[in-house]
Amino acid sequence: MPNSVLIVDDAVFMRTMLKDIFKSMGIDVAGEAENGMEAIELYDALKPQLITMDIIMPDMDGITAVKEILKNDSQAKIIMCSALGQEAFVMESIEAGAKDFIVKPFTPEEVKEVVSRVLEE
């Protein structure tokens, strides 16, 4: 079964870019969520191998979502999507249990590097 991913980001643009990168990696995009709330629901429903999680989103931010998701499934593999200047948030999410992070603007290689490592874990 191919690996699958849930993409969480409030911007369609960002989701599209990630989608293309995942497609090129042969990873199935199981679903997309626009905020933390949706992310939790979709993760429960779809059980993908991987989540990419934006940090700043309306309704529920990424860090809260990470905590909630891990409460339900401590094995969830979450990669944060951060912008420059969010070191503190990134560290907070890692502490909460996210596996790693990628930085916007990212290149496909950066995403691939982090994703394949996290999937190997």
Binding site: M17, I56, P58, F101, E109
Partner: protein, 661 residues
């Protein structure tokens, strides 16, 4: 990554976000009380715009959105509403954001300067204060345990967060290791680009090394030599760093305390955005300039004591300025990291085999210059794969190596950086260029016949002059060679193209090392002081018995070795006219300008050369092709820095079209 694909999507979505920004902000203006939800929504909006803009490479737009984001972050934390002045500044900010988007929509690039509005927005909060809240100093964990390894991270603003991830990962592998700085220390910003790993078990070294092998954020892992036995005494005495015991100040000796505290401060990274750094550099640059003016006007009359203070101050300013500039220097790698990917993507699509080599990646260049050069270089690389390197079958037929080669060479040449892109492709057929020029009707057959090869090749830098028979998906649209040339020239540099059919093409971009300091020669002309950058000047000349002019009809020439070089006079309107005996006889001082059309340019008086801080001009003033920058003259008035080489080149081109027309 090919961004063109995403640009339309970006424009569409950013448009929505910016319009929402307008609406939300209107609501905020009418709000009578602090509204957390509304402020939050605006903050997120700015944040999203920033992320999107940065992702498609519009860094300037991202910077502006970032400022707006920070400002609303501040309002959110401080729980206040913007005041009237702030509202005006924010409105201006959103306006500029929208203008930028419109320009991007129009020409796929952003050339609107936002420095002023950014500076205005910064005035309403202190970015440093809110990003880095005061935090308690944590002392260094004094561990006498031997460090096993040092893990060095690549320089990047988020390296600290990467270090955090690495610590977390390594901890899951073994309990018997500790780190300096520790995870908690990282959280308060203590990071100097590396982490030391402490532990007893040398077997761990290999495991850690292999675990980090694929981590591109790590630049290298250094094994430390095992400790000689004689030191074991200290080891026993030393407190053992228990795993998980993070960031506890265990400073026992009073005299060491001070040192430890200092190193803790040194380890604290402070964040600064490029715009903030530019602001400081500009400020220091102005101080530098004013110092130069003072030195001219006041120093001679100063008392010896005051003179000494003045000298010390001068040295200090110069040193501080140099240090600041060096902060803005980044290695070429900064932009070249994604080149292999671009080559791979383009070559795969074209089913071509290409290898890219980059040498001199470590050479440091002003970030401002480097970032400007990124898109032009990407364009050249794409072109090289698209039009330069032949298809596999053709290469085989011609007996060329299976893999096409593209080599980017970065070299420092005195105060310039030369970036050359060599490909071993088919080269550019000059006959085709001539044919195209004829077809477009830009030049007559007669002129083309006489045109030297190095001028023919420059035809490809004319707007709309693409040789590609069909517009390919990759190049042949978007940034053209004319844009490449413009960018390089705007930076005060030159683009030199050489090609040999069947052998390959070389694009050389020669740009100054830094934008900030340039050597100029100040001249007096028609009652005005102007300056030329000395890098385009080969020598200065004064007409006397040894140097004389050859007059031919109404144009003078100078004989220099084998060559007869034309002489010009710079006139009041910053134009050049041929130097004639009758009209310009009194004018005897000149500069010899190198380049494609070596010429002599006469001015009223050559004054002096000096190192000066220059300022690039914002839009729309940067459109004047000869005006490369401004600086401040002795009387405190702005002085234009004119690029005479471009004046001369332009004149040649005009003459040629006139002959044609």
């Amino acid at each position: 990554m090919d961004m063109r694909k995403y640009i339309n999507l970006f424009i569409e979505e950013a448009d929505k976000y910016i319009k929402a920004f307008f609406t939300l902000f209107d609501q905020l203006k009418d709000a009578s009380a602090y509204d957390q939800g509304l402020i939050n929504e605006i903050f997120r909006n700015a944040h999203s715009i920033k992320g999107m803009a940065a992702s498609v490479g519009f860094g300037n737009m991202a910077d502006l959105a970032h400022k707006l984001e920070e400002l609303f972050h501040y309002y959110r934390d401080a729980k206040v509403l913007p005041d009237k002045k702030a509202i005006e500044a924010i409105s201006a900010g959103i306006d500029v954001l929208y203008q930028k988007l419109m320009v991007i929509k129009d020409k796929q690039q952003d050339d609107i300067d936002a420095a002023a509005v950014i500076a205005r927005l910064e005035g309403f909060y202190s970015p440093m204060a809110q990003q880095h809240k005061p935090m308690a100093l944590t002392g260094q964990l004094i561990s006498k345990k031997a460090p096993l390894l040092v893990i060095y991270f690549k320089r990047s603003p988020l390296a600290i967060a990467k270090a955090f991830v690495v610590i977390k990962r390594l901890k899951t592998m073994s309990d018997a290791i500790s780190f300096y700085p520790s995870a908690n220390e990282l959280k308060v910003g203590k990071f100097e680009g590396y982490i030391k790993v402490f532990g007893e078990n040398n077997k761990l070294v290999g495991i850690i090394e292999s675990a980090l092998a694929k981590e591109s954020a790590v630049s290298r892992v250094e094994r430390l030599q095992e400790r000689p036995a004689s030191r074991s005494k200290t080891k026993e005495k030393a407190p053992k760093a228990t795993p998980g015991q993070d960031a506890v100040a265990e400073v026992k000796l009073a005299d060491k305390g001070k040192r430890a505290k200092r190193s803790a401060v040194a380890g604290k990274l402070i964040g600064i955005t490029p715009a903030e750094l530019d602001f400081i550099i500009n400020g220091m640059g102005e101080i530098y300039l004013h110092k130069t003016i003072l030195a001219k006007r006041l120093k001679p009359g100063l008392e010896p004591d005051a003179k000494e203070v003045f000298s010390r101050m001068s040295t200090l300013i110069k040193r501080t300025y140099g240090k600041l500039i060096s902060l803005r220097m980044v290695p070429f790698q900064h932009i070249s990291q994604e080149f292999p990917y671009i080559i791979k993507m383009v070559s795969e699509r074209q089913k071509k085999r290409v290898r890219l080599a980059v040498s001199g990646e470590g050479i440091e260049i002003d970030r401002m210059i480097l970032e400007e050069l990124k898109n032009p270089l990407i364009h050249i690389l794409r072109n090289a794969v698209d039009h330069g390197i032949e298809g596999n079958a053709v290469r085989k037929e011609r007996g060329k190596p299976e893999f096409g080669s593209i080599h980017i060479k970065v070299e420092r040449k005195a105060e310039n950086i030369q970036i050359s892109v060599h490909d071993d492709g088919r080269g550019i057929a000059l006959q085709d260029l001539k044919a195209k020029a004829k077809q477009l009707g830009v030049l007559s057959e007669g002129t083309l016949e006489k045109m030297p090869d190095e001028d023919v090749i420059r035809l490809i830098t004319r707007p709309g002059f693409s040789l590609a028979g069909k517009v390919s998906e990759i190049s042949g649209r978007g940034v053209g060679m004319d844009i490449v040339k413009n960018v390089v020239e705007k930076l005060g540099g030159r683009l030199v193209i050489t090609t040999e059919e069947g052998i390959g093409t070389v694009f050389k971009l020669i740009v100054p090392l830094t934008m900030a300091i340039q050597e100029i020669i100040i001249v007096q002309n028609q009652g005005e002081e102007i300056a030329f950058p000395t890098r385009v000047i080969e020598t200065t000349m004064v007409l006397d018995d040894a140097v004389s002019l050859v007059h031919e009809k109404d144009h003078a020439f100078i004989r220099l070795k084998e060559d007869l070089l034309p002489a010009y006079r710079l006139n009041r309107h910053m134009n050049i006219e041929p130097y004639t005996k009758d009209k310009h006889n009194g004018c005897r001082q000149a500069v010899l300008i190198g380049g494609r059309h070596p010429s002599l340019l006469f001015v009223d008086k050559l004054k002096e050369t000096r190192q000066t801080v220059i300022k690039r001009l914002p839009y729309p003033f940067n459109r004047f092709r000869f005006l490369s920058a401004v600086t401040i003259g002795d009387r405190g008035v702005p002085m234009m820095i004119i690029d005479p080489m471009r004046l001369i080149d332009f004149n040649f081109e005009q003459q040629r079209s006139r002959q044609d027309g």
